[in-house]
């Protein structure tokens, strides 16, 4: 009896250690990634990186100012396209939906979420780039915008659902129309969750590379307006990393460092905002 109890405890500690080791190895990867990027990227980062155009092949120095602006433009456009559709779709699912139709919408949202990003790139190429006849920031924004929709729908629906029914009933009892109750009571109660969800969504597409290869393409120069091929940080990292020039590799590390910092900061801010107390006041 005593020996079996000893064995039981031993196995328990052993498995605690083993599964703990798995967790340590998994979480440890993040520190490896951060460490390498800070080490290589931090060394390669200079003021010129943020202010200058890429140097021509063979010259050293230069920066990626055009790619930073380009990424900003494409992401802005993606947000302008993806978030309204996603947000309103989420409101529909949470507040207005009937049974069958909401099942269809939920299912297609999940499906769209699972479509590999490269496939979205192909579709936007066939649908928008090909008829327009050229690559552009605009089409890059469309591709990333489509990718933003599913997460936006999901998070909007989730946080609206979490708003207590009593709040809605209170507004309706005061004589407000349903839409007025939603706009003035329900959405404001969930706004923290929805904004955080949007930030996570933006962080996810900020690092997307594959769909931009066939839509925004890239550019070694400034690309004013929305109708020219546009450099973006992720695509620059890709092209610079696989190029055979030592100096380009340094630039790729610097760009990787900047991109990762941006993505992780968005994530940390959004997650802390969600974790701080509740996103809606649960009565």
């Amino acid at each position: 009896m005593a020996s079996s109890s000893l064995q039981k405890n031993l196995v328990n500690y052993l498995m605690f250690g083993l599964t703990g080791l798995c967790t340590l190895m998994t979480a440890g990867i993040l520190f490896f990634i951060l460490g390498y990027l800070v080490y290589h990227g931090g060394r390669s980062l200079s003021w010129a990186f943020f202010t200058q155009l890429p140097a021509p092949v063979g010259e050293t120095g230069g920066g990626m100012a055009n790619a930073i602006i380009g990424s900003g433009k494409v992401l802005l456009l993606a947000t302008a396209i993806g978030i309204p559709i996603g947000f309103l779709g989420g409101v529909y699912l949470s507040e207005y939906s009937g049974r069958t139709l909401s099942f269809v919408v939920r299912y297609t949202t999940d499906l769209l979420n699972g479509v590999p990003s490269i496939v979205i790139g192909i579709v936007v190429y066939a649908l928008v780039v090909h008829p327009m006849g050229h690559f552009s920031a605009l089409t890059g924004g469309v591709a990333l915008g489509i990718m933003m929709i599913p997460i936006s729908v999901r998070s909007t629906e989730e946080y609206l659902h979490a708003v207590p029914v009593s709040l809605r009933e209170g507004a309706l009892a005061l004589g407000a129309a349903k839409w007025k109750a939603i706009v003035t009571v329900v959405i404001p109660a969930a706004v923290r969750g929805i904004v955080s969800g949007t930030m996570l969504d933006l962080a996810r597409v900020a690092g997307e590379t594959a769909p931009l290869l066939f839509t925004a393409l890239s550019n070694q120069f400034w690309s004013p307006g929305w109708n020219k091929p546009t450099a973006t940080l992720p695509v620059m990292i890709f092209t610079y990393a696989i190029a055979p020039y030592e100096d380009w590799h340094r630039q790729a590390w610097a760009a990787g460092f900047v991109l990762l910092t941006l993505v992780l900061l968005l994530n940390i801010i959004a997650r802390l905002a969600l974790a701080r107390g509740t996103y809606v006041s649960k009565a």
Binding site: C22, I33, G86, Y96, T109, A206
Partner: protein, 325 residues
């Protein structure tokens, strides 16, 4: 046109028209319509994705038929296209990734959901969620410059000295290979397995655990004999979800797989994946047939992820329904 509208208006009882107008003025119909249009747009976009892939690949589908999936020649110059080397590379790298990621991911999920003290669990979960947010191209960057040299100098030589006689580890190793791609992929999918499996484990009802603990079982015995069997369907779902991600993963794989359309038994040989060939050749494809063949590869990828995601969804829903009351 005008007369028919009048006829239509007359056909509706006057009371109903007034109440519709009133509701429109009150804003509810309008708000409903706006959100309905957005929801409909999501449906239309998803349908368009499938339709575009299907119609734009018609040239290649008609020319090669089902043989496209089983032919191993990829010769853009001669206009001969077969998907087999890419399907092979995609499947081999994904399976390798699962072999590494599934034990480690499920082990971590069990630790986070069942074994760890709450504080430690919360911090680790936060870190692993951040890991899931690292962009694919960053994994590729680390793959090329950090992982490949490590494999080349420290991992593959001892591996070859032990398993060198197996066909899996024969031939020269140049760094970029199916092996490297599989390892990078495994790191990328672990966070998904962890976060979904953890939630599935947490949805197992508390009283099941308490009953087992009250009978004198240790924490591990409770976890392994009571909680995990209850959650196994959902955990399988998380693995399918991770597999779907691995199949469609593009940038990191493109950067380390070697981009050579060949079928070799050795994991150390360079290969090619579906997503990687699309990324590399799409903008350079000359001729409609070439482009159409690449789009058909996209259709194959879409089909695979569609089926896997569907299965995963069913499995995960079944578990959380049966478990979460």
């Amino acid at each position: 046109m005008g007369t028919s509208a009048i006829v239509h208006q007359r056909a509706v009882p006057p009371g109903k028209v007034r109440s519709f107008a009133r509701r429109l003025r009150a804003g509810d119909e309008l708000a409903y319509l706006i959100t309905l249009i957005a929801a409909g747009a999501i449906f239309i976009i998803t349908a368009l994705v499938f339709y575009e892939l299907y119609s734009e690949s018609s040239l290649a589908r008609h020319k090669f038929g089902w043989g496209f999936l089983f032919s191993s020649t990829w010769d853009p110059v001669a206009g001969n296209f077969g998907a087999l080397p890419f399907i092979y590379g995609t499947v081999v790298t994904s399976v390798l990734a699962l072999l590494i990621a599934v034990p480690q991911g499920i082990g971590s999920a069990i630790f986070l959901a069942e074994m760890a003290p709450p504080r430690l669990s919360n911090i680790s979960t936060f870190l692993i969620e951040l890991l899931a947010a690292v962009p694919s191209v960053i994994y590729g960057l680390l793959g090329i410059f950090i992982l490949v040299p490590i494999l080349e100098h420290d991992v593959v030589p001892p591996l070859k000295s032990v398993f060198g006689s197996l066909p899996l580890f024969q031939g020269a190793f140049y760094g970029v290979s199916l092996f490297s791609a599989g390892i990078v992929l495994s790191v990328m999918i672990i966070p998904f397995i962890v976060s979904v499996s953890r939630e599935v484990l947490l949805s197992v009802p508390r009283d099941q655990r308490e009953a087992s603990l009250a009978l004198g079982a240790s924490q591990w015995q409770t976890t392994w004999r009571v909680v995990v069997p209850n959650a196994s369907t959902g955990i399988t779902g998380s693995v399918f979800l991770a597999l779907a991600r691995a199949l469609g993963e593009t940038m990191a794989v493109t950067m380390v797989i070697g981009n050579t359309p060949q079928i070799k038994a050795s994991l150390l040989a360079p290969g090619y994946s579906i997503a990687a060939v699309i990324a590399n050749e799409f903008t350079e494809a000359t001729g409609d047939l070439y482009l159409s063949a690449l789009i058909e590869l996209g259709l194959v990828l879409f089909g695979l992820t569609f089926v896997l995601n569907g299965l995963a969804r069913i499995l995960i829903i079944t578990t959380s329904r049966s478990g979460g009351h």
